[in-house]
Amino acid sequence: MKTFACFIKTFKENLRDWKILILAIVFAPFFIYLMYLYMNGSGSAAYNVVLINNDINGSFSTELTEELENLKTEDGRFVLNILKITDSTEARNMIKNKDADLLITIPESFSSSLDRYINSRNGLFPTVRSYGDQANTSYMIAASFFDYTLFNYICLRTGTEIPVSIKYEYAGRGKTLKEFDLYVPALFVLSIIMILFTTGASIVREVEKDTITRLSLSKVRSVEFMTALSLNQIILGLVCLLLSYLAAISIGYRTSGSVPLLLLVGALTCFSVIAVGIITSCFINTMFGLLTLGCFPFFILMFFSDCFLPLPKIDLFNISGNQVYLNDILPTATATRALNKILNYNSSFSDVSFEILWIMALSLVYYFIGIVLFRKKYRY
């Protein structure tokens, strides 16, 4: 009865405090669209390549350029944006300024050397130069595409065969995963992390207005209040997750992963983020504090959960063959991994059972800490 009354009250307050609610709900879908646009609206990044062709009238260099320009993914999207220029200084500046990922310089003797080799099977191969910033992962990817195209072209034109063949096989659903697809689970987790603010707001509002005193004087127990608050936030978290899912679907993301499993992991992740939100609110007394200091745990969850940055894996321990890494102490890191398995690799419940148990265990630990801190601070 009291839990239900608290639930209804918190629900109404959340609806009426619409600014934070909108922020929480809209942030992740917005991020999904933003990420999609960043990836050129195609779901895969097109890499910017500047090309200096010193073999001006050479037919082979022209053909190679066309090959590069027409390089497409399996689903027909162009991979490389080729910009032809002549000034090498300008080209290098573009690399330094990250306006381009890769600079290719085709030598003047490219066509003549190749022609000579085809006719006489003799002579030196020309040196095609590839230039880029090693710290830029796009450079490495663009360079790989270029190498692949160049070798194939040379083999084709010279009739040479590489004495080994490569067969490309793809993980997951038997089709190529786009780069965007790999971000989607992280973006879903991000949508759930946003409820850290709404959870914090629900508690801090009571503290700031001192209504927590009214509650503590009444007969409602802190566990009942927290249960109501958590239920509210889980619903909100799942709404955020579903909106993010719809946003991803609307721009072409497809998954045959289990939706109930997605919701289960989502709900558990909500629970863990709520626990972090409770802990956070125990160190903050005002809404201003929440929106400033509260960003600290938010960014920790966002950046250390493998959401966007690839982090070095630091082994902690192994449980029944399941390796636990340092950043797995953040439940959102495990959640990102679990959602990736479910959405992109069609994993079943048994495939992600360890992750589910791990998130549950972490959530309970964080929730317990949150409740203890809350009761200690407010004597409630």
């Binding site: 009865m1 009291k2 009354a5 608290c6 009250k9 109404k12 307050e13 009426r16 405090d17 207005k209 001192d210 209504t211 005193t213 009214r214 509650l215 503590s216 004087l217 009444s218 007969k219 409602v220 004597r379």
Partner: protein
């Protein structure tokens, strides 16, 4: 009389500051207990300890043994309401938090809203209410569960005269069922409402009793003020000092003193004035007000 709450040697320190220093008193069932003191005297700290919101460093708070289920209501001096709930929503919510049956919540809620003049705005969000309405809602939330004892910490601060009257009358109506502990800086209000008054300052209890008892027990006599036309002369002052009143104060041409029997003195004063060719412009005798007593006890220095 039966006490409902007893403060026994309460002490609370914050670092080097002793906010409440060995305070003891009893609050009787069904009374309105005026709890007075200047800012920073320790009133709110004492109330927090009595309501169980703060643990004393030493001493204890005892509740009436005959009833182990004494319920407490508190109306803090700042407004404590849920801004995004309507008046009726928060009244109903608090009723549920106290495990009241739905019919009782509804009945009591309607009664409170009516009594505190909030019926017309019961569906309005609290943040859209005027300051006075919010303050009245603050009181309503403290009373929804008909507590055995309610602490009203400056409930009338910021209210207009009409609202003050409304609140005062409502407090009177509840006193039979609910013991009221009232803190206020309005001495007249305290005197009008309170059955007994307790004055504290710097964490110490200065006096306790009915307004009459406080006056008598603390030697507060009637106040006499005489305004002389022109300057007083030495002979007259000597006469007053030696023959009549050893302790008096003089400011410009006004002589002020306390006396338990002022009427007897006045005749002699008038006679002496005539003999000294002094003309008395005015002579006033009045009972000392609670404010006079309060200032006498707590001094004139400003508080933080």
């Amino acid at each position: 009389m039966n006490w409902i709450l007893k403060a026994d040697a309460l002490v609370k320190r914050y670092g080097d500051i002793t906010a409440v220093n060995d305070i003891s008193f009893e609050i009787f069932r069904g009374e309105i207990f005026g709890f007075l003191g200047p800012n920073g005297a320790g009133k709110t700290t004492t109330i927090k300890m009595m309501s169980g919101l703060l643990k004393p460093d030493s001493g204890k708070v005892l509740l009436d043994n005959s009833n182990s289920n004494i319920s407490i209501g508190i109306c803090p001096q700042h407004i404590v309401i849920w801004e995004n709930l309507t008046c009726i929503e928060q009244i109903l919510f608090m009723g549920k938090m106290y495990n009241l049956p739905p019919e009782e919540i509804k009945k009591k809620g309607i009664e409170l809203l009516e009594a505190l003049g909030l019926t017309g705005v019961k569906e309005r969000l609290a943040r859209k209410l005027s300051g006075g309405m919010q303050r009245r809602l603050n009181i309503a939330l403290a009373l929804i569960h008909s507590p055995d004892i309610v602490f009203l910490d400056e409930p009338q601060a910021g209210l207009d005269p009409q609202s003050r009257l409304l609140v005062r009358e409502y407090i009177r109506t509840i006193k039979n069922k609910t013991t009221v502990v009232l803190t206020t800086h309005d001495m007249e209000e305290a005197e009008k409402l309170s059955d007994r008054i307790c004055i504290i300052d710097k964490g110490k209890l200065l006096c306790i009793g009915t307004a009459g008892e406080i006056t008598t027990n603390n030697g507060f006599e009637d106040l006499v003020e005489i305004d002389i036309e022109g300057d007083t002369n030495k002979e007259f002052l000597h006469f007053i000092n030696k023959e009549l009143i050893p302790a008096f104060s003089i400011s410009d041409s006004r002589i002020t003193f306390n006396s338990s029997n002022p009427a007897a003195l006045v005749e002699n004063i008038l006679k002496s004035a005539r003999e000294n060719n002094l003309k008395i412009k005015s002579l006033q005798m009045r009972k000392k007000s609670l404010e006079d007593i309060f200032i006498n006890l707590t001094g004139r220095s400003l508080r933080e």
